[in-house]
């Protein structure tokens, strides 16, 4: 009798293990594996716990500088109509660490309510909804801004036989997104966002009107197709319960016809654009002030009636006075551009996305620039007002 019980147990264990592992491999081929997904959530929950323990020893930490932001942090509605300008940054230490963000904060004397991260579409585990990173940003007091790039070529055909072959995929790729071909990915990401629960900005398919940069641009897609894709993505998120997402529409205003890519007031919460001064480093560029890059387009951006975000803000050092560039941009920004409610520093070392040589956007070490930024921020940045009080 005992022997028979043992044999039964063994059969059950083997059967369970086999069925389980088969199920695992089939599920994980269609999307990211459930084991990895659950482990990700477990890992981030543990990270949160560890952060809370640290708080017991060392007090509240960074979030103490963001007390004024408490009313916003968990309210999608307030983040759609903020008072003042929400500062933020992307730093090239992300996703490994937020240390670079904090170092920039220290050097310019503020605490950012927003932290930007860049995510690509694809099969890899780091192309899932970034639950660990979003939780870490949230635990130190800020709200994540995810620039979400639909790189369709990052999906493997052996896992997704229904989508076109890799080299044909970008052609009218946005039409394919609109028709639901990529819902397998969109839904998993949306459910991850919904499970995260707290407000999160998503800047989807940015610079969609730039015909040179990204495969989701006009070289492969019409504006009608892009708008259809945008609406489809937003509809999937709403259907999946991810109502905590704020949708940031972000064209490249240096190229024409960008207004024709607007998906409509019901599908957009924020309007954004980049304002990066490359100076004379690239042949298509010269030293342009913030007013020239952004200010001239501001009225058109503001005309949509949405809050405006400067999603990538920065100037290189070569070809002009960098400190003056920052001072001119930041002085009186609230009165000159009253609808600008967010400004994200582009704090990237060794950026090679546009130019052939690596360029350095970092300002931490440029004392003239820091001396120009500090007084400007102290006049209007909410974190600095809190510090003064």
């Amino acid at each position: 009798m005992r022997t028979r019980n043992r044999l039964m147990l063994i059969v059950i264990v083997i059967g369970g293990a086999l069925i389980g592992s088969l199920a695992l491999t089939t599920i994980s081929s269609s999307s990211e594996g459930p084991v990895t997904g659950a482990m990700d959530r477990l890992g981030s929950a543990f990270g949160s716990f560890e952060h809370a323990m640290r708080g017991r020893f060392q007090g509240p930490g960074r979030s103490a500088g963001l007390k004024w932001f408490d009313g916003y942090r968990n309210s999608v509605e307030r983040l759609k109509r903020p008072d003042g300008v929400l500062l933020g940054a992307f730093d090239s230490g992300i996703p490994g660490t937020l240390d670079g963000v904090v170092a920039l904060e220290h050097s310019i004397g503020t605490t950012f309510p927003l932290v930007q991260i860049y995510m690509a579409w694809g099969d890899r585990p780091d192309e899932d909804f970034p639950v660990g990173l979003a939780t870490a940003i949230s635990d130190v007091g800020s709200v994540p801004v995810v620039t979400w790039e639909p790189w369709l070529s990052d999906f493997a055909n052996d896992k997704h036989p229904q989508i076109p072959l890799r080299d044909q995929r970008d052609r009218h790729g946005m039409a394919a997104v609109a028709s639901g071909e990529y819902d397998f990915y969109i839904d998993v990401w949306a459910l991850g966002a919904a499970r995260f629960g707290k407000p999160i900005f998503v800047r989807f398919g940015h610079e969609m009107n730039d015909p040179y940069r990204y495969p989701w641009g006009p070289q492969n897609n019409t504006n009608i197709e892009f708008i259809a894709a945008w609406k489809h993505v937003v509809d999937r998120f709403r259907r999946d319960g991810a109502n905590n997402v704020l949708w940031v529409w972000s064209p490249h205003v240096a190229y024409r016809y960008w207004e024709t890519y607007y998906p409509g007031n019901d599908y957009v919460d924020w309007v954004a654009t980049g304002a990066l001064n490359f100076g004379p480093i690239a042949q298509w560029s010269s030293w342009w002030s913030f007013q020239e890059i952004f200010g001239q387009k501001y009225p058109a951006l503001a005309s949509f009636g949405k809050p405006v975000m400067v999603a990538e803000f920065g100037s290189l050092a070569v070809g002009g006075n960098r400190a003056t560039w920052y001072r001119d941009a930041l002085d009186n920004i609230t009165s000159k551009y009253p609808q600008v409610h967010a400004l994200l520093f582009f704090n990237v070392k060794n950026d090679q996305t546009v130019t052939y040589q690596k360029v350095d956007w970092k300002i931490d070490g440029d004392s003239a620039v820091l001396r120009a930024i500090r007084p400007a921020l102290s006049r209007w940045a909410p974190s600095n007002q809190q510090a003064v009080r």
């Binding site: 022997t3 043992r6 044999l7 063994i10 264990v13 083997i14 293990a17 086999l18 389980g20 592992s21 695992l24 491999t25 994980s28 594996g33 084991v35 990895t36 482990m39 990700d40 477990l42 890992g43 981030s44 543990f46 990270g47 949160s48 560890e50 952060h51 323990m53 640290r54 020893f57 060392q58 930490g61 960074r62 996703p95 490994g96 660490t97 937020l98 240390d99 963000v101 904090v102 585990p125 660990g132 990173l133 939780t135 870490a136 635990d139 130190v140």
Partner: protein, 492 residues
């Protein structure tokens, strides 16, 4: 999985990554080789022993071995039912051994001053005797009366050179070490050897192997050296002799009861097995069939485990103290990728337990054996190093009776590991609560605690080994064979 492992993005320190890859893929290959072996699992058909074979039992004694043990063994040899002659190959120069032989009807052969230890005596005794079949019995192994009736039938195929039977023990309940050491052998003497048998490469074990005299003569006698049994098996297979493995318990012997004896036995084997790989196998390579070759390579690389374990042990600490990471793969990803292999491996582990020799006692999670194997890694490592520098270690029979061991001498590797672990845990908690910047705390959480989890497993496994060393400080007051009743053994 190789596609996943060898992604360029995973390599963060090329040299360390190469080492880790070596350790990881060694582990995977052991699992796969095990499956290949199990795939061939076969059990020979029962054959009745014909009458009229001339059969001998060779029993060896060396100075210092206890007389009372021989009393039991010779008594049991005398009771083996198939007609046979028993020879005691003796170099103790102790008159009482000769007297004992006479009492139980055995022939006493005084063989003093021969080179080659046990094998030397066997080879000389072959010249002095004439029986067609020879059972080489270790003196601690008490044969059952039906021993030859279960074995001799397989020699009716004139190409069969030797018949090996399972090994089992009567003293395994006497200490943690004995139990663990016995558990380690369960799978080998069941599905393991049956697989080797299926591949045509059943291995001589040194005890309980019955040889055809002509086979031994054809290879110039029994092999000599630390792994004399393995050498003999390879030479016989290379000479074209077939082997048979009978997965039945037909005798019970002794397994080391104290950790020191166990370590010495394992050192001897690990050193010896490498000798076989480096010296014996290259010579036999052309005359072995590829399945036999694969089987011997599998056996020959077993003790490399000592090296890979060191790699696994060191890496988490390297990361936790210096931040050096051999592979930049995420902990959760690692678990996700290896879980299916682990699940299948576990399933097969339980599945093959159906073929264990003694299912009623050997089934289950043999955790003592696993912990003892892991505690052996410094011994395996030493064996590997000794083989590389070609250092000789003397051939000594494994101790028959527990030897009193010094706790620290036996347990220091495990204790050192536990101490380093505790200091590391304190360091990690302290630095993360007090000095790690808030902005990098959460994003490094998974990596740091994942590494600590890796470091925790070997520490948990080391604890039973410390217990085994602690127990080895004391020696039981009775000899293990005192309680054996020769008249009632066997016939199971």
């Amino acid at each position: 999985m190789a596609d996943w492992w060898f992604r360029a993005s995973h390599v963060s320190q090329p040299f360390l990554f190469a080492l880790l890859s070596l350790a990881f893929w060694y582990g995977i290959s052991r699992v796969v080789l095990g499956w290949i072996n199990y795939a061939a699992m076969a059990k020979p058909v029962d054959r009745e022993a014909p009458t009229g074979y001339r059969v001998a039992i060779f029993l060896t004694s060396t100075p210092g071995e206890p007389l009372s043990m021989f009393e039991k063994t010779l008594d049991a040899c005398n009771r083996v039912s198939y007609p046979h002659a028993t020879y005691l190959l003796d170099d103790t120069r102790d008159e009482r051994f000769a007297e004992l032989s006479r009492r139980f009807g055995a022939t006493h052969l005084e063989l003093i001053g021969l080179p080659g230890a046990k094998a030397g005596k066997i080879n000389h005794a072959l010249e002095l005797t004439s029986e067609e079949f020879v059972l080489v019995l270790d003196p601690d192994h008490i044969p059952f009366p039906e021993f030859f009736d279960r074995v001799l039938g397989h020699f009716d195929d004139s190409e069969v050179g030797f018949v090996q039977v399972a090994q089992a023990y009567y003293n395994q309940s006497r200490s943690f070490t004995a139990r663990g050491a016995a558990e380690q052998t369960y799978a080998f003497y069941g599905p393991g050897q049956m697989g080797l048998h299926g591949h045509g490469a059943a291995v001589v074990i040194g005890a309980n192997c019955t040889f055809r005299r002509a086979a031994l003569i054809s290879i110039g006698g029994h092999g000599v050296g630390l792994a004399e049994d393995l050498v003999t098996a390879i030479r016989l297979h290379a000479a074209g002799w077939k082997s048979v493995y009978v997965p039945e318990v037909l005798s019970r012997g002794l397994v080391p009861e104290d950790l020191g004896s166990f370590f010495r036995q394992q050192l001897k084997w690990s050193r010896g097995v490498y000798e076989v790989v480096f010296a014996e196998l290259p010579r036999a390579i052309s005359s072995l069939r590829w399945r036999q070759l694969l089987s011997y390579l599998t056996i020959g690389t077993y003790y490399f485990f000592g090296v890979t374990t060191l790699i696994y042990l060191v890496f988490p600490y390297l990361y936790l103290w210096t931040g050096y990471q051999p592979a930049s793969m995420r902990f959760t990803e690692f678990i996700g990728e290896t879980a299916p292999v682990a699940a299948i491996g576990l399933a097969i582990y339980f599945y093959v337990q159906r073929w264990l020799c003694d299912r009623s006692t050997e089934t289950g999670v043999n955790w003592r054996g696993i912990t003892l194997k892991l505690a052996c890694w410094p011994v395996f490592l030493a064996g590997t190093m000794l083989a590389i520098v070609r250092a000789e270690i003397p051939y000594l029979p494994t101790a028959k009776q527990a030897v009193k061991g010094r706790f620290l001498k036996l347990a220091w590797p495990s204790l050192l590991l536990i101490a380093v672990y505790l200091v590391t845990v304190a360091h990690v908690i302290g630095s993360r609560m007090l000095s790690t910047p808030e902005a990098s705390l959460e994003l490094s959480s998974e990596a740091v605690w994942g590494m600590l989890a890796f470091a925790t497993l070997p520490v948990l496994i080391a604890c039973p080994a410390v217990y085994a060393a602690w127990q080895s400080r004391l020696v039981p007051s009775t000899a293990p064979w005192d309680s054996v009743d020769v008249s009632s053994i066997g016939g199971q």
